[in-house]
Symmetry: C2
Subunit: 194 residues, 2 copies
DNA sequence: ACTGTTATGGACCGGACGGTCAATAACGAG
DNA sequence: CTCGTTATTGACCGTCCGGTCCATAACAGT
């Protein structure tokens, strides 16, 4: 009944997210997005509403994807919970030491948000809570298995892992290499010793 | 022999740094800086050369100030090295949970730098190495005092502390409160148990 | 007081930015 | 085939941006 779109929203959001991850929200221009997505300005505007809205879409997708990935790494497999966390951290060390200058959109949003009541802040906060929840779940299993120190607080350990992973991401961006990041990841796991 | 300046460079750089810390490099406009510093555009330009150069000045100052502060916290006092680190981390937890939306210029530069060969990257990398060096020095003392696990690697632990502090900074920005950040700080110290 | 030199402030500029408009194209329904 | 609806395209717009120009002010030295 009407002219069909020539693009798939998911692909567009994904391409846009790539640009945002490399350049950041403020530094990305509409023309960058036009070039990266292949759409015209007006099509972009019709479908998403503008640069900021498109970023929010990309952010949501990135958040979901990240949560999915961590979930998969921590909640499945036959290794023990602590070993799963260990494997996850080592994989992150490798991922963050890739020199492709990407920064997760969540971190971008965190840094570029302009205030408490910013919409970016809201999405980012809930994203962090979601991540902490996933870590927390796995840590709970570890505790049940007796693999955590007796006095460990699962909640705060979960937040701790969110913090150390964000820190590793920044260090990777700063050029810290794979070996060093791996060492950091291994160090970070020492908090789990009992 | 010529008209004297009406401003003190240090103050101007400091005010500018404040703005950059809140808004970021890309999102700060020259007019923001004019308003924050009280100088005219031309004076700003004469004295510093432009927005980017001014940011670099502010970044250097911020880096020195941060290094000085950490140095002071870790290298003096009658407490043991490990206890000094502990106190330092607890103080950071409080600092990062202030809700004033600041992000250290080093983190800003890290996230907003546009490539490997970026001047921002260079300054930031050396800043991180400097910080790691300070942590490393204190950890060396701790090791000498026998307060570190026997198999601990001082180098990587130093990097680890840089990572966890950057992560805590981001979490603070995300709205994680003082109590939670303090718990994270305490957790992070568990890697030092022997 | 005069002069050389630098600082200052406000007007100004070219360009890029995010966003919009209007003409046209591509479809499905009838 | 025609019509209604929506997508697309490229030209266009007002604004804001970083940066510059220029006329003037404020000093130090003579």
């Amino acid at each position: 009944m009407a002219r069909p779109r020539k693009f798939v929203e998911r692909d567009v959001v994904s391409s846009a997210g790539e640009v945002f991850a490399v350049r950041g929200l403020a530094a990305t221009t509409l023309d960058d997005l036009v070039q990266a997505t292949g759409l015209g300005k007006q099509s972009l505007y019709n479908a998403f509403g503008g640069k900021r809205e498109l970023f929010l879409r990309a952010l949501s997708e990135d958040r979901e994807e990240a949560a999915r990935a961590v979930s998969e790494a921590l909640e499945h497999g036959d290794a023990s919970p602590v070993e799963r966390i260990r494997g996850h951290m080592l994989r992150l060390a490798i991922e963050f030491s890739r020199s492709d200058s990407r920064v997760s959109l969540t971190t971008r949003a965190l840094v570029e948000s302009t205030g408490e009541s910013d919409q970016l802040s809201a999405v980012t906060k809930s994203g962090i809570e979601q991540l902490a929840g996933i870590y927390g779940h796995c840590l709970e299993l570890a505790r049940a298995a007796g693999d955590l120190p007796a006095d460990a607080n699962v909640q705060s350990l979960a937040t701790y892992f969110v913090a150390i992973t964000r820190g590793m991401e920044l260090l990777g961006r700063a050029g810290v290499g794979r070996a060093a990041l791996t060492a950091v990841a291994l160090d970070s796991l020492r908090v789990l010793r009992n």
